[in-house]
Symmetry: C2
Subunit: 294 residues, 2 copies
Amino acid sequence: MHTENIKSSAINFRSVARALTIVENDLAGADDLLKSLSFTKNTPIIGITGPPGAGKSTLVNSLISLLLKDESKIAILAIDPTSPFNFGSLLGDRIRMAPHFNHPDVFIRSLATRGSLGGLSAKTIEMADVLRASGFDYVLIETVGVGQSEIEIAGLADTTLVILVPEGGDEIQHIKSGLMEIADAFIINKADRADADVFANNLKKIIGQKMGSHTPVFKTIASQAEGVQEVAEFIKAAVGVKNERRELLMTQKAYKLIQQKLTQHIDKKKLQQDVAEALNHKNFNLYSFVDTYV
Amino acid sequence: MHTENIKSSAINFRSVARALTIVENDLAGADDLLKSLSFTKNTPIIGITGPPGAGKSTLVNSLISLLLKDESKIAILAIDPTSPFNFGSLLGDRIRMAPHFNHPDVFIRSLATRGSLGGLSAKTIEMADVLRASGFDYVLIETVGVGQSEIEIAGLADTTLVILVPEGGDEIQHIKSGLMEIADAFIINKADRADADVFANNLKKIIGQKMGSHTPVFKTIASQAEGVQEVAEFIKAAVGVKNERRELLMTQKAYKLIQQKLTQHIDKKKLQQDVAEALNHKNFNLYSFVDTYV
């Protein structure tokens, strides 16, 4: 793709979109396109995740407004997990991000992930890299906090923000087990709720005790843009700081891509036919089937 | 394993635990053990998932109490997603399930999944199959509603229950996009909340309109065991009904196992060393790296 040679002030959104489409659908030229990407600008990937109802979209909108004040160019990849049964994404085009939809410095793309039959992460990695090489100042990846993408985002993003809402601490154990370790910062949104301070203090205590870390905890009311400036400053400060995890991140990306490469020859339709056939046999055992299949 | 020949009334928990350990850690004999499993009892796998705070553990406890009244033997596989950075599971042994921990007819096992560097689903499939072949009447798989396991559970379970809490419908779009299609039934827990009826009606409307299906919606107050009997009846009724998805389920399981088999030779430590080395080169491109690596 030729966008990387163009100044940041004139990113050709149309060619970015075309490059993404080529990569997303694995069209002719996808491999060469990926291998020719160069990452001169060192654009950071900011992952934003959290459970449903946390107000991610509102917060992202508010963040974008602030980052745009520096004349930044921002790309957003909104990931919609779909079912493993291929009903397709129901979410569509993220109408909630509409405030910035027509802004000339904001590029938005939805990616409907493919569910558990593979392909999720490799595609996400590739599309994020296309955006990183396209001259943007920030690539934001927002994942809906259901499905497989929530934890995996940390394997992709340079900085991961985990958004939570004060929830009385009822299942704070559960939140923790999935999300504690992947967060570079926590954002407690809807911080005007009565139990926000208690929640924030509990969270800080857990971070200190269990993780022995100093992961910052921000409190925001995204719907009123309150507290969001601090988050924007955190993101700006994180940019350019050498990321200690870069090696691990790259290893994970490499592994996903290798995994995809090794399995891409498997014809899923054919596999289903063969499984259906094998199921007719009385003593069907999945492990013996797999053993003889590859 | 020899447990499958023993009558249901005398499942040897110790040998089940040992078989699970062999499979979980891929110890000597794991392959043979899996290939020798026979599923004479057609034990159903019941998947239970939902976002954090929905009260899954309370509901599972309440369900178990009811299913035990039929002298059923129940196995529970509680899945703890861990980070992709291998900090291990923080959740530990699910103390919330303690009420049944010492019940002679209830077998509980936690499985800390391995995050994004592979292994999650293959192991889960294998362990669930060991339990299925061990003479239990039900295998319940509970997943914490963060991480990768939430959607994938539907690729594993014969019947999937999605637990939700009335949440004002603020991000009902998001809940829907991840969970709508995988549910065989919805359970709205904490149904004593003020907005429970509105939420239930909205959910039913969406199910009918968007999905064109008649997925049942149950309302429960698990902490008081209210409404749980209906859920137990639903589970019992689902058992033995020929599952139309069996072929698709088996295909997905087969795919995961094939994927694991094709990638198991990749030495992740070596890969990380090679990535670290490659990153020193100025024009590092991940796609060229992967291309030459396999």
